[in-house]
């Protein structure tokens, strides 16, 4: 056999070996997932999203896998693309609440049964909560989701879980992947220009569809995708989960004044203010569908203490103008922990690597949120 032929054969053998080796890794990851070892050993993290014409991105229907960022949970997306159980439309005597929020309400960090959404359904009989929440869903995305999907469920109420910090992001963030509020005729309106982006175009093309198909069927594709998302050659330790530095236990007057002034600004901007536009939009959706709306907000304080009444009165006054009810989640969490320190000890409510009331909630945090929202919803729906 000639040398060049031998080399060619060697290369072919090497290629064959590379394919077999890749298959071994694919099988190994799948085997780990089938055993209890998925809680500890390396697993391929689920890829959840696909492009969406209205909200920029949405969960892929029936996507199934393991979430590994902050805790490990098995995730199953429903057939209509929600992190939720399948919806039973035959149960006509149920009160239905459509909820939309960011990653806090999406709650990938805990099992579906431990989310505050599921706990609410257990605590209030005849209540069904439909969860449209997704990571990174800023207020503009929430409006798009509720407007185009949430209204299909004929809900009795609409619940928005909003981080007040996200209002600040709207003007400055280059949110090319999803709808955002842009100035329009001396006001703001939802802008869907993300549909013209090359990224969106690619994702919706045949090649994009093929990649999504691979992500749904191959663990190796998921690993490569995770690596791409975290950077091919990360310089430092990639575990850089943002730790909220706010110390909730010590409120400074300056910090509180700064936060209050943000709400003052909101009023002074008048109708041009993005936050007011958001309130205007969710009120309009509510009126059009004859439903009630609750705005549950986080992060409206610099910190939490007992002197928040003034701020609450101020915010409520604004929201009353739009007929929107309001819950201050951080404040209620603080109060709940003070009232029931044994059931909700502060050190157990700090979520995953964050301070009280901030960051993604752990199981205890979800239980606390469900208690807070149970009281509110019962009163609101007159149950």
């Amino acid at each position: 056999m000639s040398l060049s032929r031998l080399t060619k054969q060697n290369h072919l053998h090497l290629l064959l070996g590379l394919i077999v080796g890749s298959l071994i890794i694919e099988c190994s990851f799948r085997i780990i997932e089938l055993t209890l070892l998925w809680k500890v050993l390396p697993v391929a993290e689920i890829s959840l999203f696909k492009p969406d014409y209205y909200s920029g991105y949405r969960f892929r229907e029936n996507a199934e896998g393991i979430w590994t960022t902050e805790n490990r949970t098995k995730i199953k997306i429903s057939s209509i693309g929600l992190r939720d159980n399948e919806i039973n439309n035959e149960l006509s005597d149920m009160y239905r609440v459509v909820m939309v929020g960011d990653s806090i309400a999406e709650a990938l960090q805990v099992d579906l049964n431990d989310t505050f959404q599921a706990l609410l359904e257990k605590k209030i009989k005849k209540l069904e909560v439909i969860n449209l929440s997704m990571s990174g869903a800023v207020p503009s995305v929430q409006v798009a989701l509720m407007k185009h999907y949430g209204t299909n469920f004929n809900a009795n109420a609409m619940l928005y879980i909003v981080d007040a910090g996200d209002f600040d992001k709207i003007n400055t963030q280059n949110s090319s992947g999803f709808p955002k509020y842009m100035p329009y005729k001396e006001s703001y309106s939802l802008d869907y220009s993300f549909r013209d982006n090359a990224n969106y175009q690619f994702r919706t093309s045949k090649a994009g569809q093929l990649i999504y198909w691979m992500l749904s069927h191959s663990r190796l594709a998921l690993i490569a995708n995770s690596r791409k998302n975290r950077g091919l050659f990360p310089k430092k330790n990639i575990q850089n989960i943002n730790v909220h530095t706010n110390n909730n236990e010590s409120c400074s007057a300056d910090l509180q004044a700064t936060m209050n002034s943000k709400w003052d600004l909101m009023n002074s901007y008048g109708s041009e203010n993005v936050r007011n536009v958001f309130l205007r939009d969710i009120a309009a959706i509510s009126n059009k569908n004859s439903t009630k709306t609750i705005l549950a907000m986080r992060n409206i304080h610099g910190c939490i203490d007992n002197n928040s009444q003034e701020l609450h009165e101020f915010v409520k006054k604004i929201l009353d103008g739009y007929d929107i009810d309001f819950v201050d989640l951080d404040y209620e969490l603080y109060q709940l922990s003070n009232s029931y320190p044994e059931r909700f000890p502060k050190d157990k409510l700090k979520g995953f690597k964050s301070s009280l009331g901030y960051g993604h909630l752990n199981e205890k945090g979800h239980e606390a949120y469900s208690e807070i929202l149970k009281v509110k919803l019962k009163k609101f729906l007159m149950l």
């Binding site: 060697n10 290369h11 053998h13 090497l14 290629l15 064959l16 070996g17 590379l18 394919i19 077999v20 080796g21 890749s22 071994i24 890794i25 209890l36 070892l37 500890v40 050993l41 390396p42 590994t68 960022t69 190796l220 690993i223 490569a224 995770s226 690596r227 998302n229 975290r230 091919l232 050659f233 330790n237 990639i238 575990q239 050190d347």
Partner: protein
């Protein structure tokens, strides 16, 4: 550039292909590659290592039997090592003042503890005439800088490495390399690091960073750390030995399933073997260890030696105390009566429990933390971090932990002659492809923890 990164994978492939293609210059290619590899550590680090190489090289060229010259060399190396590693420990005020003056904190140069010990071994052996003088600067640089082992060992003796270096630079003759063997070692190392060490790290960190709530959690934390550090460091060494072997350099074994040891001396013959041997040959024996001396002196020598071994790991009292207790344990184990229980499962269990206790001291950030942790291990204290809230959970955790020990046994089997024969038999392109693919995908895996190798900080 960490071994568990894609950058290293690509860098290594490049070096490998260059060595294969231009085998005539493989020594120069490997030396250039080593310099480039170390350059990634930072400009201060590369400057320091070059400075260290030059000083040691020129000092070693002069009269080798001169004791004063040897002391001067040892002094220079110890001063450099101490300045970078121990100044905050021994002279904190001056060190902080220095930081203020230079307006920066000088970090510990990568691999300084390892390459300094390697250089010292050469210089002492040269004085003792146990090794041939390295006359070529590039060969001496190679001896210090060879990239698979420069950062965290194994610490190689000149009499083992130098003949191989000479062959690289001066001969065109390449020795037979069983690539499957080298690649298998790399796979074993990457699996140990990515699959085991990085998976255990978040759990042992969580237990050590919060005071454990009960006896079970405390022992579990120590057990997990014991295996985390083992998989981490021995994984690194496996990659180093495998990667070096493929490039034509044989490095010594550094680990032999240490948790199967039944007594402390056995443990140190299996754990970080090259460091243990270094300390034995260059500190313990010169101090008079192993000779028939009075009980007190031999005790003192052993304790001092092990304290120095502890201090080598870092400037912290925990390491010194850890070393001292190891010394005491080794010493008293000599007087333990030999009976039918020696080497039995009970004996192993007793010894392994002490190893776990000692890892607590090693892992803790201060002695007070270590003492609190040990108190929890014996039920005298309680913290607030619990793992395994019910009996089923506890049973599953114990089963999982026993798998770690099982992995240790598998590793023992994998080093058997029968397996080595099989490896030789299956040294072909298909197997190479399989092993390369496994390494590649494990390096692509981003991981939850993805921490650097623990021994990089020493």
């Amino acid at each position: 550039m960490s071994f568990n990164s894609l950058v290293f994978f690509l860098f290594y492939l490049l070096i490998f292909f260059l060595v294969k293609r231009i085998s005539k210059y493989r020594g120069v290619i490997l030396l250039s590659g080593s310099l480039l590899f170390y350059f990634f550590a930072g400009i201060t680090d590369i400057c320091l290592v070059i400075f260290s190489i030059l000083i040691n090289y020129f000092l070693s060229l002069k009269v080798t039997e001169n004791k004063a010259r040897l002391f001067l060399i040892i002094f220079c190396n110890v001063v450099i090592l101490s300045f970078f590693k121990y100044r905050y420990f021994f002279v904190p005020d001056i060190s902080y003042q220095l930081d203020d003056i230079f307006n920066t904190k000088i970090l510990l140069p990568l691999g300084i503890s390892f390459y300094t010990f390697q250089i010292l071994s050469y210089q002492i052996d040269l004085y003792r005439k146990k090794v041939e003088q390295i006359k070529s600067l590039k060969e001496f640089s190679f001896f210090v800088l060879f990239f698979p082992q420069v950062i965290a060992g194994p610490i190689v003796r000149a009499n083992k490495l130098f003949p191989q270096i000479k062959n690289l630079f001066r001969s065109n003759h390449s020795r037979l390399i069983i690539y499957t063997f080298g690649l298998l070692l790399c796979v074993q190392g990457v699996v140990k690091k990515v699959v085991f060490a990085d998976s255990l790290a978040p759990y042992s960190d969580a237990i050590f960073n919060n005071t454990p709530a009960d006896v079970f959690t405390a022992w579990l934390g120590s057990y997990l750390f014991a295996f985390q550090i083992y998989f981490d460091f021995s994984g690194y060494c496996d990659i180093a030995i495998g990667a070096a072997y493929i490039l034509g350099i044989k490095l010594p074994v550094n680990f032999r399933q240490p948790y199967l040891a039944v007594n402390p001396r056995d443990f140190w013959k299996r754990w970080h073997i090259t460091l243990s041997n270094w300390i034995r040959d260059y500190i313990y024996i010169p101090l008079g260890g192993g000779q028939n001396k009075k009980i007190f002196f031999s005790f003192l020598i052993l304790i001092s030696t092990m304290m120095l071994a502890g201090l080598w790991h870092g400037a912290n009292w925990t390491f010194i105390v850890w070393g001292a207790i190891w010394g005491g344990y080794i010493y008293f184990s000599r007087y333990m009566p030999k009976n039918r229980l020696s080497g039995s499962l009970i004996h192993w269990f007793f010894h392994f429990s002490i190893v776990l206790l000692l890892w607590v001291i090693f892992r803790s950030s201060s002695m007070s933390d270590a003492l609190t942790y040990i108190q929890v291990m014996f039920g005298f204290q309680h913290g607030n971090y619990a793992v395994g809230l019910n009996h089923v959970d506890k049973l599953l955790i114990v089963l999982g932990c026993s798998l770690l020990m099982f992995a240790h046994q598998i590793e023992k089997i994998s080093a058997s002659k029968k397996v080595l024969f099989l490896v030789k038999k299956y040294d072909n392109s298909i197997v190479h492809g399989i092993l390369i693919a496994i390494i590649f995908w494990l390096l692509v895996y981003p991981g939850d923890s993805n921490t650097p190798f623990i021994y990089f900080r020493f």
